[in-house]
């Protein structure tokens, strides 16, 4: 925990004063709201407006605490916010423990802020954070199917009214303003929508309120100068009333809330539709090409223009739909902060976590699936990687271990790295316990084999089992999870210097750019992201070395794998061959095909049927002519070929 920032200048002091004042206000609101929600403990119909207010209060405190450099308050607010989010989503109900965690968290938060003000040591927040995290994670235990509860049910008995409020100076002077009006309406029911509108040149605020209030109660509102009309619930259109000319003709101002929660399934559906559009357009293009000869040049140009525009718009649509699904990876990373703290405490090590690239956006789908693998890797880094303090000092390192987690995008890939400056993996020990040679004569470590061995279920070189990483569980889970996401895991380690794991993931799984190639008359597709280079090969340049074909490329030996042989098809006999270079550095391999046809945008359809679960095939897609083709899984093909060549040698 950093010491309170020493006051640098008057201005910053003033800034801090404002921060304390603002926190004071929010804490007051929070305490009031907490008292109000106490009666909902154990109930399902918790007041969402109050949860919203609590959520916002902590959200703001998190933000301003970050600005003044008070991470303890930032983290605590973040956890409170997290728990409230879960409650708001209705995935779990407020129980006694959760409520107490909120109350205790608020108390500690107040203490943290006070300590900062009085330059006293910051109190420990760990216990509160753990209590809140426990409360939050209850959601996972009972991820209910009814998380999207029917919104109709609760409003069944209430009426929807549309209120219009015109702000004027006179009303404002009399204390009637948009806030007071809103508060009054809120006391009667739930405001489902608030929109500023322009009517006849005047700015008017429209409130849609769903309420069970009686006519008399509604009449009471008249002193506010509101006009009221009923809302037809089914169509949400506004009934024309004599006094209120409605202006539904201002669509630009019809934006009500800043965000909407959407079921991921719906987005998947949308993505699927976009995918189908992509295929249809490809088909259209093919048909266009076939009639090219029979239309005039002018007609052709205008057709082509429409076609190209269509293509561009489709690409934009695809990108936008994809973007809707994207969330910053900070959602995952922030969680790691607490994981690191917890494990560091458990293992009694001092660890500093360095996060970078938190703004990197990834598919929401990946967020949940990345959490576990990252957790395992971080755990491993701290409990296996980082040495004890004494060990570090005697090795000439700083007593505090460093863990870094970073994310960045590269083309269509997201690259996540998790590293430590610990002792590094003991390659010799892995070598002796597995019996597999991992170092070459000149001492070069085969990292990909090393990764394979440590990812074997049950593998461990560790003698005693510890709570955080257990024994041998973890790496196989990580490797499997990453493989399922169509990603690639790699490792680099150096004795005494540290270990870094690298995860490469495709940005999206549904639509991708693929290279299309033919082998013996068959067409195949391969993800562009896995190809580093496409080269032309003169068959006479291929040399055979111990049953393996190789070629000299950029003054390096490049092993070749003929797809024709992988799929037991005839080799091409004449003319040049093409090859995709997959993998980089020492793992580069040339995947030889007869001919590369080109680059296409394809829609990936998974082959879920176990009968068609062929190794080496990642999925299927269709080209413009409707012909289905297979998408190859490069990594599996490489693995399979290596196994074959090894078994042939022995």
């Amino acid at each position: 925990m950093p010491d309170p920032v020493p006051p640098s200048d008057d201005f910053f002091n003033q800034f801090l004063d404002d921060y304390f004042a603002e926190c004071e206000e929010y804490l007051a609101v929070v305490r009031r709201d907490l008292l109000n929600i106490e009666r909902f403990v154990g109930q399902t119909d918790i007041d969402s407006a109050q949860l919203d207010e609590l959520f916002r209060s902590f959200h703001t405190m998190k933000g301003i605490s970050g600005m003044v450099g008070l991470p303890a308050a930032e983290q605590l607010s973040h956890e409170m916010e997290d728990y409230l989010r879960v409650l708001r989503e209705g995935n779990t109900q407020l129980n006694k423990k959760g409520f107490e965690a909120l109350v205790e968290g608020t108390r500690v938060l107040g203490e943290v802020i006070d300590a900062h003000r009085t330059h006293l040591p910051i109190p420990d927040i760990q216990k509160s954070i753990e209590a809140l995290q426990t409360a939050t994670s209850v959601r996972n235990a009972k991820k209910s199917t009814a998380s999207y509860s029917d919104p109709e049910s609760k409003d069944l008995m209430s009426d929807e009214w549309r209120f219009l409020f015109v702000p004027t100076q006179a009303r404002s002077d009399a204390g009637i303003n948009v806030n007071s009006v809103r508060a009054r309406l809120q006391s009667l029911g739930e405001i489902t929508r608030t929109t500023p509108l322009v009517e006849k040149g005047d700015v008017v605020f429209e409130f849609i309120v769903s309420t069970t209030a009686s006519e008399a109660e509604l009449e009471d509102l008249n002193d506010l100068g509101l006009t009221r009309s009923p809302v037809n619930q089914e169509s949400e259109t506004v009934l024309e009333s004599a006094t209120t000319p409605t202006s539904s003709s201002t669509p630009s101002t019809q934006t009500h809330a800043s965000s909407v929660r959407v079921d991921l399934v719906r987005l998947d559906q949308l993505m699927l539709l976009v995918g189908e559009l992509v295929v249809t357009r490809a088909r259209l293009e093919q048909n266009l090409n076939s009639v090219r000869a029979s239309v005039s040049a002018a007609d052709w140009r205008s057709l082509q223009e429409v076609n190209v525009t269509f293509g561009k718009q489709l690409r934009d649509l695809r990108n936008d739909v994809m973007r809707v699904r994207m969330v910053p990876i900070s959602e995952v990373f922030e969680r790691m902060r607490f994981v690191v703290r917890n494990i560091a405490r458990e293992t009694q090590k001092r660890v500093h976590l360095d996060l970078s690239g938190q703004e990197t956006e990834i598919d929401k789908f990946l967020v949940e699936r990345l959490m576990d693998p990252l957790l395992h890797l971080v755990r491993n880094s701290i409990s296996h990687g980082i040495e004890s303090e004494a060990e570090r000092l005697s090795a000439g390192k700083s007593a505090v271990g460093q863990i870094f987690i970073s994310a960045k995008t590269a083309g269509e890939l997201v690259i996540i790295e998790i590293g430590d400056d610990g002792r590094g993996i003991d390659v010799e020990s892995v070598q002796s316990s597995s019996g597999i040679q991992l170092t070459s004569a000149d001492g070069e470590v085969n990292f990909s084999d090393l990764l394979k061995i440590i990812s074997t279920p049950g593998f461990s070189t560790r003698k005693e089992v510890d709570r955080a990483s257990g024994r041998g569980v973890g790496m196989d889970v990580v490797a499997k999870a990453i493989e399922e996401l169509d990603g690639e895991l790699s490792v680099h380690t150096e004795r005494g210097v540290g270990t870094t794991f690298r995860i490469e993931l495709p940005l999206t799984l549904a639509i991708t750019d693929a290279l299309i190639a033919t082998v013996a008359g068959q067409t195949f597709a391969i993800h562009r992201s896995s190809v580093y280079e496409v080269i032309e090969i003169d068959p006479s340049a291929i040399k055979v070395l111990e049953n393996n074909e190789i070629i000299l490329h950029r003054e390096e030996v490049l092993p070749l794998i003929r797809l024709s042989r992988v799929f037991k098809l005839p080799d091409k006999r004449e003319g040049v061959l093409h090859a995709f270079i997959v993998g980089s550095g020492a793992h580069a391999t040339g995947l030889v095909v007869d001919k590369v046809v080109g680059l296409r945008e394809v829609v990936v359809r998974s082959l879920a049927d176990p009968l068609t679960d062929v190794p080496g095939v990642a999925g299927a897609t269709e080209l413009g002519d409707g012909r289905p083709i297979l998408i190859l899984d490069v990594m599996e093909i490489l693995d399979a070929s290596r196994r074959i060549s090894v078994s042939q040698r022995t």
Binding site: G63, P167, Q169, S172, V178, N179, T194, F205, S252, H256
Partner: protein
Amino acid sequence: MRRMVATSLSNLGQCKFEEAANGLEAIERLVLGPADLMILDLNMPEIHGLDVLKFVRARPLYESMPVVVLTTKGEESVQTEAMAAGATLYLTKPFTSSELVAKVRGLLPETSDEG
């Protein structure tokens, strides 16, 4: 946050400020009296800052009023959106008060009595 901005701006002198706690109130304030400049936090309760911006820009009176939007780090797409919606410039939180003051000073007319 709002208070911090107000404190920073008090350094400008000769300006009058009005504060609004949320987007609705901000719109109301603008309706009730003209303003020379607006500082708009995009993350506000009730109505998103972007919607406030769009609404304000649609009013002839405020077509050319400078608007400084405050965004959060990592929301680059929102910044672009805000600029497209008519923001004059944006500041990414966290910023220092001198940054804010410098930007605001550059946008204000030489002598002004309202802000």
